[in-house]
Structure formats: C-alpha cells, structure tokens
C-alpha cells in the first residue's frame, strides 16, 4: 500500500560524513556490484563501452566547490542515495502500491513486480534517489541493502550496506536513527548532522555531517617577512633587489 505506515520506532539509515569523504567512488562501485546481482532486476548500462555511456546507479558521488566570504574555497565530495524519508513523497504518489515504506524499520522499497514504470515517484523525489532502469522498465532505488543487513548467511561484519562496508575512509555509518542512544544518533548529535532540503518537508532519515572548519595555519617562519615576494613598500631584501634590477639598463620600472 502506498499509504505511509505510522512512524516506526526503528529508523534504519545512513550518516554520511562530508568531512571524511575523499570522493573515491568506492561506495558507488560496491553498491552497483552488490545490487546488480541481488535484490530485484539488475542495474543495466547502455552503451557502456561506447561514446555515450549511461546506466542505472543507486548511489552517486557529486563534488562541490564551496566559496566562503573570506578565505580559500573548499572542495566537498558529496555521496547521495535514497534518504529513506519519514514523509516519503515517492511512496504516496505511486498508483499501484509498488512503492512502499516498511512499517518495521522504515526502509523505502519498490516491489518491482507491481511497478508499471510510470516514473512519478522519481518526479516526486527532490533528491534524485530513484532511477528508472532503461532495460527493465522498473524503478530502481537504494534498498539499504535489505538483503545484507538481515542476512544470517553473511558473517556479522558484512551485515551492513555494501557502501558502508566498503568505504575506505570511514565516511559512511549505518544504524538506527530512531534510537537516540545508537552510535549513529550520537554522531549526529555531536557533529550537528543535518537534513538535505529540509524545506521540502520530507523528513529524511539519513543525515549528513558537515565538514569541520578549516584550521588557520599560524605564521612560524622567521625568514618569511624578509622574503615577501611583492616588494611594493620597497623594504627588505626583495625591495632592494627590485630597485637594483630596475636601475639596470632595460630593467622593468
């Protein structure tokens, strides 16, 4: 049913640390690798080795440049996948009931055998978390690796989403954001985790941790003041050099 269930006590989701992510795209590759051969239809590619490659991905890493009013610009790598919203607009627009939010843990899933591929859920999602597979004609989205996290055939350390398991930087964390005492909830509280597009009213479960402020490097080089490269005030060694060279025949004034 596409009616949203009452809010679940358990809210499984991801916490993504923008301070730590190095933009290696390992999560993108492991996500595609696991999900193309497990839950539902494979994640197809079109013209994969041709001039115009395109394909279905459930997780993509953007990179943004952020320019503060003062100081240097920062480059921030930004992984994005389904945020498993509490007020998921993609669920209620579905005409067939294929799109649903699980009452027990809040994971948003697509029952692919009911999906007619109308694309409305992708229209309703502000985050671009859903992609219609061009070969299968059904909507694909992050399952939070529902086929890993409860899978007793896997060793316990592997019972987390593929993206989290593979992240070499430790930038991705998985847990129950409905439990205030969970590690992920504490991380969000400590680091000031935030929602994407809060004004859209979707109440995402996934949280993002902001990049830490850049350190200010103290000046410790005793020679630096004497070696200022721009001798506009005509002092110091460089100033003398500037004048001396300018006074030579043909020197720049």
């Amino acid at each position: 049913m596409t009616q949203l269930p009452p809010p679940s006590a358990k809210k499984l989701g991801l916490v993504i640390d923008l301070d730590t992510c190095v933009g290696c795209h390992a999560c993108v590759v492991s996500c595609k690798g696991w999900n193309t051969e497990n839950y539902g239809a494979p994640l197809s590619d079109q013209d994969a080795y041709g001039a115009n490659p395109s394909g279905t991905f459930l997780n993509r890493v953007h990179s943004y440049e952020v320019q503060p009013d003062q100081g240097e610009a920062q480059l921030i790598h930004f992984p994005k996948s389904c945020l498993h919203c509490e007020d998921a607009p993609c669920v209620t627009v579905c005409p067939t009931g294929a799109s649903y939010k699980r009452a027990e843990d809040g994971i948003v899933l697509v029952n692919e055998s009911d999906c007619i591929g109308c694309g409305l859920c992708a229209w309703a999602c502000p985050y671009g978390a859903r992609e219609l597979d061009a070969k299968e004609g059904v909507m694909k989205k992050c399952t939070l690796c529902v086929d890993r996290i409860y899978n007793e055939n896997l060793p316990e350390e592997d019972r987390q989403p593929a993206c989290v398991r593979t992240c070499p930087a430790g930038a991705r964390h998985f847990g129950d954001l409905g439990d205030v005492d969970s590690d992920v909830s504490k991380l969000v509280a400590d680091r000031g985790g935030f929602d994407l597009m809060p004004e859209q009213g979707t109440r995402p479960v996934n949280k993002y941790l902001p990049p830490r402020p850049k350190d200010e490097m103290p000046e410790f080089d005793v020679l630096a003041p004497y070696l200022e490269p721009i001798a506009s005030d005509g002092k110091g060694f460089v100033g003398w050099l500037d004048k001396a060279l300018s006074s030579l025949p043909g020197g720049a004034k």
Binding site: S54, Y64, C94, P95, G128, E131, L132
Partner: protein
C-alpha cells in the same frame, strides 16, 4: 522536465475529448441518432486515444490495471478510476441518445462532471509536485479545466461560450506564466539547501558524479524550452487563443460560414500542443540543483 510526446498528446487530446463529453453530458447540445453517434465517436477517439497514448511512456503498460488500486493517496490512480467511470457513464448516456433517441439528464450530468473530474485529477498529478515549484499552484488545475471546457465548447460549435472561455484562458495563461517564473526562487530550495553547505559559503557544482548523462538528467533537466520561452509563449497565445477568438468573432458578427470554425479549432489544437510542450519544457525540477543545472 522532459517533454514526453506521449504525455503531451494525452494532455492535449484527452483534455479536448473530455471537454466535449462535458458539454454533451450537460446537454449543451443534444444530438440524437446518427448525429449523436458521430459526436460521441469524436469525443471517444480524442479522450481514449489520448489515454492510450499516455500508456506509451510506461515501462510496463501490461500491468496498468494495478494502477486503479491506490486511490487513497495517488492522483494518478484517481485519474484512472475517474476516467473509467466517466467513459462508462457517458457511454450509457450516449447509447440512450443514439439508439433510443432518449436523453436521461441525470446520467449525462454525472458523466459530464466525471469528465471534468478526469481533467482535474490529471492536473493534480502535476500540481501536487513540491519538487516542481512552477506547477505547484492553483493555476495548474484552473488552466487544465479552462482549456478542456474551452476546447470542448469550440469543438461543439458553441461560439460565444468558446469565445469567452478562450479570452479568460489567455488571461489566466499569461498570469500563470508570469507568476510561475518567480516560483522556483520563492520555493526557497537552492544549491545551499540541497547540499546543506550554505553555512560555509556559496556552493558551485565542481564535478558531476559521472562523465556521461543519466536518467535523472534526461528526465528532469531540459533547457531548450527556457531558451526560447518568450517566442514560444507568443506563438502559443497567438495560436491557442487570439486567432481562434478572431475567427469566432468573425463568424458571429459577419454571419460568415461556420466552416471558419475548422481553422479556429486547428489553430487552437496547435497552440495547446505548444502550450503543453512549454508546460513541461519550462518546468524546473529541484533535483537539477545537484547537477548545478535547472
């Protein structure tokens, strides 16, 4: 938004067909026998033809029957149910006129209102989208309804009613465009809220997630329409409203042949096709912000 031709055809011709069914149901024209058969055939070809065209953009049209199940939350599901109800009711009403030369007003009125219900539920699919600020406004359903009954009046030869509805339609369309132009900015969604990095500074997309394109970019980022928006708007107003109104007034005042209604109708349909194309091509989805595009 990507202007899919199947959806544009559906919106234009089904709107016209259900508009004609509305006037037929309301008794604005009461043909009987063969005349009724021709009127209802035209209306059903337009309404049903458009509905069939709309299934061409589905990934799995063979499962379309499942789309009737989620009427509690989904406007698309409500549209499907409303369409089937309207078509069956109007078929009963039409059968009475064709075969028994009998008009049952209650069935006609119910079917006529249900026909407008189809147009309204269609419009709400778009108007509900918080992700497309241009659409999320009362002018979206208002414009759909006006075009449907205006086009229906034109098609059914009600000259004065069509003239008035088309003039009102033109004014509302101009208002809808003007107010729509400010709505994305007014929605408060921008690259800073999309990334949550606005507290640091101004955000710029530095590198996309992939070298090629993807479903999201094909479906939601379409910049050609906005590039030529002004010219297309003038063409749309001219074809959909101004030229038909001039021709209609000419028919009224000069008692010229009603044959002039045919170019008026063709011009209107061409204009509405352009209007619908713009409706999609101009609409900006917030997901474009993640790509630094709109």
């Amino acid at each position: 938004m990507h202007p899919a031709s199947s959806v544009i055809i559906f919106n234009t011709f089904s709107g016209l067909g259900f508009g004609l069914l509305f006037w037929l149901g309301m008794g604005a024209l009461v043909p009987t026998g063969m005349g009724a058969f021709i009127w209802f055939t035209i209306a059903y070809i337009l309404a049903v033809g458009g509905l069939i065209a709309s299934t061409f953009h589905l990934g799995h049209p063979e499962r379309a029957i499942k789309a009737f199940s989620q009427w509690k939350t989904s406007w698309l599901s409500r549209e499907g149910i409303c369409a089937v109800f309207a078509l069956i009711t109007m078929a009963l009403y039409g059968a009475g006129l064709v075969f028994a030369e009998a008009r049952i007003p209650l069935i006609g009125i119910i079917g006529g209102i249900a026909s407008l219900g189809v147009v309204f539920t269609t419009s709400m699919i778009y108007a509900q989208m918080k992700t497309v600020p241009r659409w999320r406004h009362w002018t979206t359903p208002a414009m759909y309804l006006l075009l449907s009954i205006g086009g229906g009046a034109l098609l059914s030869g009600q000259v004065w009613i069509a003239t008035v509805l088309l003039i009102v339609g033109a004014a509302l369309q101009v208002f809808s465009w003007a107010s729509g132009d400010t709505r994305f900015k007014a929605s408060g969604t921008n690259m800073e809220t999309a990334t949550g990095l606005g507290h640091i500074g101004k955000v710029r997309a530095f590198e996309p997630p992939h070298t090629g394109t993807n479903y999201l970019m094909r479906e939601f980022i379409h910049q050609v329409g906005r590039k030529h928006a002004d010219q297309l708007r003038i063409i749309t107003i001219g074809l959909a409203f101004v030229l038909p109104v001039i021709l209609l007034i000419a028919i009224e005042v000069s008692s010229l042949s009603h044959a002039l209604a045919i170019p008026a109708l063709l011009s209107h349909v061409a204009g509405v096709l352009a209007l619908r194309w713009l409706f999609f091509a101009q609409a900006e989805h917030v997901v474009g912000l993640y790509y630094g595009k709109r």
